[in-house]
């Protein structure tokens, strides 16, 4: 079922974004790009049912439970990697699924680190734990809020590959500031500006695409030009 967000938002009587219509189709990876302050994160938080500083006066239909991964991996420093991955079931008072945990640890390459605490991990490994937790949660919608923007280029490409592979077939909404990232991973790209949303054609075929493939570079170039024009 398609998720549709329809309407405007204000902060203290000032418009944050004009009436707009965001649709998110089943199984697609949608990336939202745009300058800071246009309300991308507000949009993502509204869809996730999280508190926002703005007042949204519209409708959201087709809402569903989400899993969230942000720039701050949000790991609990007192809990082991395994306990961080199974945090959701603990918070809901359910017994964690051990078999599934082992599988997720395996797929994310975290099995050797399962008993370590976040303080003993590198930045990339911490993002991996956050990704593993998203997989463990197994929700019908995955929200990614600039998940890789704090990583260096090499690590960022690796994490993009891993995320694209592990989240294949899921419905994903990602916020990014990186045109190359959007061009590599997305099925659909939306440019958000004070005027509203605009669809930008994404390269054909499934992600992850090679970062230097001609169609990826061409798409990133279009995005970059548009972003520069908005700045």
């Amino acid at each position: 079922m398609t998720l549709v967000l329809d309407g405007p938002a204000q902060i203290g009587g000032q418009p944050l974004f004009p009436p707009l219509r965001l649709t998110l189709r089943e199984g697609e990876w949608l990336t939202l790009l745009g300058p800071s302050g246009v309300g991308k994160t507000t949009l993502l938080r509204l869809i996730g049912g999280l508190p926002v500083g703005a007042e949204f006066t519209g409708r959201i239909t087709g809402r569903r439970p989400v899993a969230l991964m942000a720039q701050d991996p949000g790991l609990m420093p007192w809990a082991t990697v395994a306990a961080n991955i199974t945090l959701g079931s603990k918070l809901r008072g359910e017994a964690p699924d051990r078999v599934r945990l082992a599988e997720v640890l395996e797929r994310t390459g975290l099995a050797p680190h399962a008993a370590r605490r976040p303080g003993q991990l590198s930045g990339g490994q911490r993002q991996r734990v956050a990704l593993a937790r998203v997989l463990m949660e197994d929700r019908p919608l995955v929200l990614l809020d600039e998940p890789f923007s704090a990583l260096d280029v090499g690590l960022r490409l690796k994490m993009q590959d891993l995320a694209a592979e592990l989240l294949r077939g899921r419905t994903v909404m990602m916020i990014s500031h990186d045109p190359g990232e959007a061009a590599r991973l997305s099925d659909r790209i939306c440019l958000m500006s004070p005027a509203g949303l605009e669809d930008i054609a994404a390269p054909a075929g499934p992600g992850p695409r090679a970062p230097d493939a001609p169609e990826v570079l061409a798409c990133a170039h279009v995005l970059l030009t548009r972003l520069v024009a908005l700045a």
Partner: protein
Amino acid sequence: MIRALVTTLILLALWQGLILATGLPPFLLPSPQAVAGALWTHRGELAPAFARTLAEVIAGFALGTLIGMGLALAMAASGRVRRWLGPMVVFSQTIPIFALAPILTLWLGYGMAPKLAVVALVTFFPVASAFHDGLARVPQARLDLARVMGAGRWAGLLRIRLPSALPDLATGLRLAAVLAPVGAVIGEWVGGSEGLGAVMLHANGRMRIDLVFASLALVVMLSLGFQRIIAGQIAARLERFAG
């Protein structure tokens, strides 16, 4: 350790130098040797007094910490509780403890209870205030996770917010550990016949200034030792766990 030793020696030398320079009589300012002598001669009186004050400090601190943590959790769990209790907590700190201690003695008798009450009264506030601050400013990323993962209010409070606030609790405990011995001595000073405060009061009345200073030295030792244990063993552990 060496720095502490040097500081102590310098202070002792200054003390002795002051006596030599001003010629103050021993009944106004006894010499360090006289105080050391008093410590030894009155050991039969000072040892149980030390034990008594230490017991009051430990029990009162534990009580104050429990009350402080309970209040902080209750105020963090419910906005209504916070709006009602918050002002009362602040109000409790506006009463000078020296004025309140005799009233507590009147109500609770001359035993240990009023001393525990004074210690709890001066220690619960820093604990409640620091812990509540910690519970109120948990990183947004953790709160967002709790929300999207479907955590109930209590699961979110106990499994996310409480552990996140432990470093702040540690700060409150450190501060409370400094105040606890002061509270115990004030409690003993205004009523009761046991503990270092009482020994000091009676020695002062009998003009035994060397014994007053000996008790004071023991209070300082007790206070430093207690702070060290709380900061090193408890607060540091909490910080390591949560950070």
